[in-house]
């Protein structure tokens, strides 16, 4: 074995990055298997306090539980793995990295990606870190060439390969994050035998080793056992030190000195010199947490994690209640329960409107179910507002949640006014469909911070809330129009159907108020941020289109250019206009509103539009025939 001399040649940045990664991966594999002792097998640890420890990630202070969940879902697509919760998985990865290396974790479903990397097909498509890094190391040239291709031009397989590359790098960061405190298998043993214990002796050992090399060269076969032990010890310490140089993911130490609000990882504290007596206490606690896990001492683990969580709850910027609430939010998943209640409510509402004689308490039960769903839904949004300290409309996912809640609440209001099950139908349909649509975007939701132009609570609270409310009422008006058209096709009482359409007309008026006001507020916000009120940006044009459609059909109805049937169909098609304007413009991938882009929903959107047009055409034709027959 020769001593490690680290250097990076003058290569293009991507190659440098890959070389660094390859080196790190190799170092990590060697280090983890040969350097660190552990006997931990952590099935019976209490993770409650560990979950509450705050960490700064993606610009926000969140509980360790959320950090664990985000990464486990990112790597494996699941919130639990091998019957281990996300937080337990994280603890194992951080404090017992050797065991994590061989655990099947990384999900790679794309067969092209598997073929490109030479990975064998597996039933569950999950690969361990060791398998994944070996495949990546073997295909360095491929990775380098993929990094040169613009993201929009990558095939799904190529994207999956790069995603695996990124995920393994992140995983490596997590496994290396606590190596400052892990036991090292080094002779002679000192103290707890962590890197910190050995660090201050390194200069002295370095001197001794240099003297040995000067005398005997670098051939270990010529060394005495003590000299060999010294050389190995220095080797392990050196690679531990160098592999940790940019280990910054685990930001668990608050900034110690004024001028910055970026938290630091333990290794960053070590390398940057930003430590203080206050951070020394925290580092000591982290050391105790690590040691107790490695020694499989559940009692000490509980004590250490409780002490650390308690100490961190007083750190500046930490809101212990928000952390606890966030843990509950992800554990309890109130949104899926809410969606289930809406679907149940929808089924019960169909029963109520089927014409069967049912007990009145079934109707009451239906209303109760929808109200319970709305309560959980509102609770979800309120929780998000409390945690993020901003209006809940910063991302597409959040705006879908908001829109669906307003639709449900308006449906319940309609039901209270009309008492004819129309409101229940609107509420349950809108609630379940929109929440279902939001599932497509929930994977990217990490309750993230917003970019500079969106980072303004005033405009989020006015423009975005206003326009999403407008979309909401527009969708509700569209649903009412659908119900009217179905009832007309089924030949129901004309007075009732006319009354329903009048409700739709009123809802469309409200939609016009909110969309036009929201659009103008958006223009005013653009005037404040981008120096012009209107720039014909696709998102702006989309909002304008909804306003124009509403103006057209409402004026057309007033001036009798639209008869009842035509108005109902045009109102039903409002859903298409809203879907295209709200989600469809994102598919153009152009314009200044470049913060809601997604290519996930293209096919679903196309299918939805096709279905709506077909429905509109069929009902228009059928009702026309009925009217002529009369």
């Amino acid at each position: 074995m020769s001593l490690v001399i680290l250097s990076v040649a003058k290569d293009p940045p991507q190659l440098q990055e890959i070389l660094r990664l390859r080196l790190r991966m190799t170092i990590l594999t060697i280090m983890v298997f040969f350097c660190f002792i552990t006997t931990a097998h952590a099935d019976d640890f209490d993770y409650t306090s560990f979950a509450r420890i705050p960490i700064q990630h993606e610009g926000r202070i969140k509980p360790m539980a959320t950090f664990a969940l985000i990464h486990l879902e990112k790597f494996s697509g699941k919130s639990e793995i091998a019957d281990t919760t996300a937080i337990a998985w994280l603890a194992q990865t951080m404090f017992n990295p050797a065991q994590s290396m061989s655990q099947p974790l990384f999900l790679l479903k794309d067969p092209d990606a598997q073929a490109m990397l030479g990975l064998p097909t597996k039933p569950d498509n999950r690969y361990s870190f060791a398998e994944a890094t070996e495949a990546i190391n073997t295909n360095q040239k491929l990775i380098q060439s993929l990094l040169q291709i613009p993201t929009g031009e990558l095939s799904p397989g190529q994207r999956a390969v790069l995603e695996l590359h990124e995920n393994t790098a992140l995983f490596a960061q997590i496994t290396l994050s606590c190596t400052l405190f892990l036991h090292l298998s080094i002779e002679p043993q000192k103290g707890d035998s962590t890197f910190i214990d050995y660090f201050h002796t390194m200069p002295e050992w370095q001197k001794s080793l240099q003297a040995i090399i000067a005398k005997k060269g670098t051939d270990l076969n010529r060394y005495t056992p003590q000299e060999t032990a010294l050389a190995e010890a220095m080797h392990k310490l050196t690679i531990t030190l160098h592999s940790s140089e940019d280990n910054t993911l685990l930001r668990v130490i608050p900034p110690q000195w004024t001028g910055s609000d970026a938290w630091l990882s333990p290794w960053a504290i070590f390398h940057s010199g930003q430590g203080s007596p206050q951070s020394a206490e925290l580092m000591q606690l982290w050391r105790q947490v690590t040691t107790s896990y490695q020694e499989h001492n559940a009692a000490h683990w509980l004590e250490a994690t409780q002490a650390l969580a308690s100490k961190m709850s007083a750190a500046p910027g930490v809101r212990p209640k928000a952390l606890s609430l966030e843990i509950l939010y992800y554990q309890w998943a109130p949104l899926s329960k809410s969606m289930a209640l809406y679907i149940l409510g929808f089924a019960l509402t169909l029963l109520c409107i089927s014409g069967l004689r049912i007990w009145s308490f079934v109707r009451m039960f239906t209303v109760g179910t929808v109200c319970a769903g709305a309560f959980l839904h509102a609770l979800t949004l309120a929780t998000r507002i409390y945690i993020l300290e901003r209006p809940p409309v910063g991302t597409l996912y959040e705006s879908l949640l908001f829109v669906s809640l307003i639709a449900v609440l308006f449906g319940l209001f309609l039901e209270w006014r009309l008492r004819n099950n129309l409101g229940l139908l609107v509420a349950t349909l809108a609630g379940s469909l929109l929440l279902f649509a939001s599932q497509s975007f929930s994977g990217d939701d990490t309750m993230s911070m917003l970019i500079a132009v969106l980072n303004t609570n005033f405009w989020l609270a006015t423009h975005v809330l206003c326009i999403t409310t407008g979309y909401d009422f527009g969708l509700v008006a569209g649903i009412i129009a659908h119900i009217h058209l179905i009832m007309r096709c089924l030949g129901r009482d004309p007075d009732k159907t006319r009354q329903i359409l009048r409700g739709g007309y009123g809802t469309a008026l409200i939609a016009l108020l909110f969309t036009s006001l929201g659009t103008i507020l958006g223009g005013i916000w653009a005037d404040q941020s981008w120096c012009r009120f209107w720039g014909w940006d696709p998102k702006e044009n989309g909002a304008l289109l909804i306003c124009l459609w509403l103006i057209w059909i409402l004026h057309g109805r007033i001036s009798q250019h639209f008869h009842e049937r035509g108005f109902a169909v045009a109102l039903a098609l409002l859903n298409v206009v809203i879907a295209l304007s709200w989600l469809g413009v994102n598919l153009l991938s152009t314009g200044l509103h470049s913060y809601g882009f997604t290519d996930k929903a293209a096919l679903s959107l196309a299918l939805f539009c096709a279905a709506e047009f077909s429905f509109a055409a069929i009902t228009y034709f059928l009702i026309g025939r009925k009217d002529h027959a009369l």
Binding site: M449, N455, T456, K496, W530, L544, H561, V585
Partner: protein, 357 residues
Amino acid sequence: MKKIAHWLTRPILLHWLMPYLMTLVITGTVAQKYIGLYDSQRLFFSSFLFWVGPLPLPGNRTITALLLCSLLAKLILASPWRKATSGIFIAHLGVLMLLLGGLITAASSVEGYIALEKNETASQFFDYHQRQLTISKNNTTLMQIPLSEITKGKTIQGLPFSLTINALCRNCTMAMRENADDSFKGSAHKVMLSPLDTYLEDERNLSGLEFTVSGVGTYIAFEPMPNQPSFTIGKDTYNITLGRTAYALPFSLQLLDAEKENHPGTDLPRSYRSTVLLSDGNLHQRAILTMNHPLRYKGYTIYQSSFNGNDDSTQSVSFAIVQNSGRVFPYVASITLCIGLLLHLCMRLPTLIRRKI
């Protein structure tokens, strides 16, 4: 005249203009993906007329002008005051304000940018899109011609010499010129302009032209070139510069400091912040510009636009600057529209959403 005015008040006009306008908006939006925002805007939204093959079709400005006239005629001639329709009247007034503001903005607004390095001062700003050819004599501007008015083969009139355009391109790059004779002067002796496909983002296009001054030689003027062509005729020195159209400011701005703040531990920008010194005669005032908080002075609005530099220190900053007399109209329009619609809703909604007795 009265007949036309009454015809304008008819609702059928709106009924047919709306679908056309919506089609125009959809077409112009989709076109942006293929021809870029700037060209799409020029073709569909900022034009009175555009051609689809041999067929002329009205552009957005024509439609908006018709809508404005129709609305004005309706408000004056066909909107009797009634309490029940007061909300509608006020709402329509709001729309009218919006359209009027749009008209004023289209007619009078000027927008551009200033790029400043730390401690640098500027008292003019540059257009994002319009380029111009500036001919100056002994450092005094003789003539400024918009590039849009220059075509290949054109001879510029009104100069004390003959200047003919040999070639021009909206987006160019430079290529080596081989076997150049002595008639090619300056950089034209070594390089020539080669046209490229235009970028969708017009700001990225680099324009250039090659011209011949009779009796002197052939030169290249290319936007990014630091040394633009210069020649002497008799005792006079002439400079030919191709660049973005410049507009003078009635005040000056000096960049004192600038910083970009990321969300901690990420590369996601949280805020941008610049400190500038605004000087106008005896007035010297420090001001801070951040995202969503521009600086307004004498009808000009200066916005924080972009940063060039690393996280901890920044090397240069771009400010967007707009002079728009119609700026306040959308604010007034939104208030008016909101009041009008709310009033109408409050009057009409209870009857629309009501249980049948």
